[in-house]
């Protein structure tokens, strides 16, 4: 059952990602990205990370993608033209990506024992467990990350400010 759900949503995620690249209209690409985000949330849920799954839906599918769609609607972006692509991409890009993918896959495959594994749906991380780890064991990295986000917000404000 868990494996069937995993395969279905994994395929949905991959299909959404491919559709995102192949669609010519920006709004269709944005909608495929929403599908990708939501199916990732289901995969998190299968791994027992319920809070993370819902945070993924609320933050990514809900808030961030709405802003994407909002910008596309506001700019009224039309369909993009289809080109033949650059020659460099065909001769260097595709083999490069394939090589990188092979290296990553083989590395993960050889190291998979030292990473340790888990079975789908075999345990549940409750929200209180998660917050205990975040606010006790990993407090400093957590706070530093939030400062990083604050810096990004300040940067956006500075960039958007009108000079007079």
């Amino acid at each position: 059952m868990n494996v069937a759900v995993f395969i279905f949503f994994g395929l949905l995620c991959l299909g959404g990602a491919l559709n995102l690249l192949l669609q010519r209209h920006p709004i269709n690409s944005a909608l495929s990205l929403i599908v990708v985000m939501s199916s990732l949330a289901v995969l998190y849920l299968l791994l027992g990370a319920e809070f993370l799954a819902l945070a993924q839906i609320i933050v990514y599918s809900g808030a961030i993608m709405v802003l994407f769609v909002f910008v596309i609607m506001l700019l009224n972006a039309g369909e993009e033209d289809r080109t033949h692509g650059s020659r460099a991409a065909y001769f260097a890009g595709i083999p490069g990506v394939l090589a990188l993918f092979t290296v990553l896959a083989s590395t993960f495959f050889t190291l998979r024992i030292s990473f340790g594994g888990t079975r789908l749906g075999s345990f549940l991380v409750t929200t209180s467990d998660l917050s205990r780890v975040l606010f006790r064991d990993l407090l400093l990295p957590f706070e530093v990350t939030s400062v990083l986000i604050l810096v990004a917000i300040l940067g956006a404000v500075v960039l958007a400010r009108k000079e007079n």
């Binding site: 709004i27 819902l54 599918s61 909002f70 609607m73 549940l124």
Partner: protein, 348 residues
Amino acid sequence: MNILIFVLLSLLKVAVVTVIFLMAVAYTVLLERKLVGRIQNRWGPSRVGPFGLLQPLADGLKLFLKEDLMPTAVFRPLFILAPIIALSCALTSIGVIPFGENIRWHGVDMFQIADVNIGLLVILGVTSIGVYGIALSGWSSNNKYSLLGSLRSSAQMVSYELALGLSVIGIVLRTGSLRLRDIVNLQNTHGILSWNVFGGFQFVAFFIYLCAAFAETNRTPFDLPEAESELTAGYHTEYSSMKFAMFFMAEYANMITVGCVATVLFLGGWSSPFGNLFPAFGGPVVQALLPVFWFVLKVFCFLFLYVWVRGTLPRFRYDQLMGFGWKYLLPIAILNVMATSLALAFHG
């Protein structure tokens, strides 16, 4: 055999809740028309059936028989998908709301469809997906009024979602759980005195929740997305027949869901306002149904408030709406979270 009974009972439960919910949606429309009528010193619908009680049926029949127009220049797949997204999101979140005590029959929880650990987050998540119904409908209609309406509504819903999310954090801090049953169980010890809005000192959070919820459901005084004097009808200008009816039902279903959530979070859910003041009476059936009665009564009062506000307050201007959300509601919500956590740290 056991699993079969379980599945059948669960399906039956889902069907019953959905039917009651849709009926409630239809009669909320009637309630609104009647009450707004009385507020404006006229009768409201009174011709179909006794006291106009069959009016929702007539309205439904009329909408069903209308011609389903498809404008020529629309972006067809999204134009059809948008009302489906809006309605399905509106109908989904009722699934995690508990209506009564945890009474099990053949292992099936009688008064809740799904008891989820993170029920509160599920409601917030479904609400945040619901924005797409309105955003996509306006964009795919290829009409400037629709586009303006949906731009307004996406901006408004994203902004007020923050205040909505922050206003419920105080409750989660008090309960220490995101499960809606736990949140209600904490409030049903001393009747009205232990409700979060009174005994929990969450009245500020309740006010913020109220404003944010009115904005999330696009209701007066925040009904900018469909401001008829400037945008004809906003995001659903181009829709007709059942597609329009789906948006209409989604709006009223969202109102009811928001009322249910407010009841569960702030008004003690199914618990009686008198606590254990009166001795238990009647048989087990009465004792099981009495909490549902209190729940429905509280939701009804909330819907009454909705209509009352619509009949009383004028619409905000757009910049006022955004300023109110970001400059007042959000800081107050953050202060409320800080005050609640300080109080809990020193007393709790």
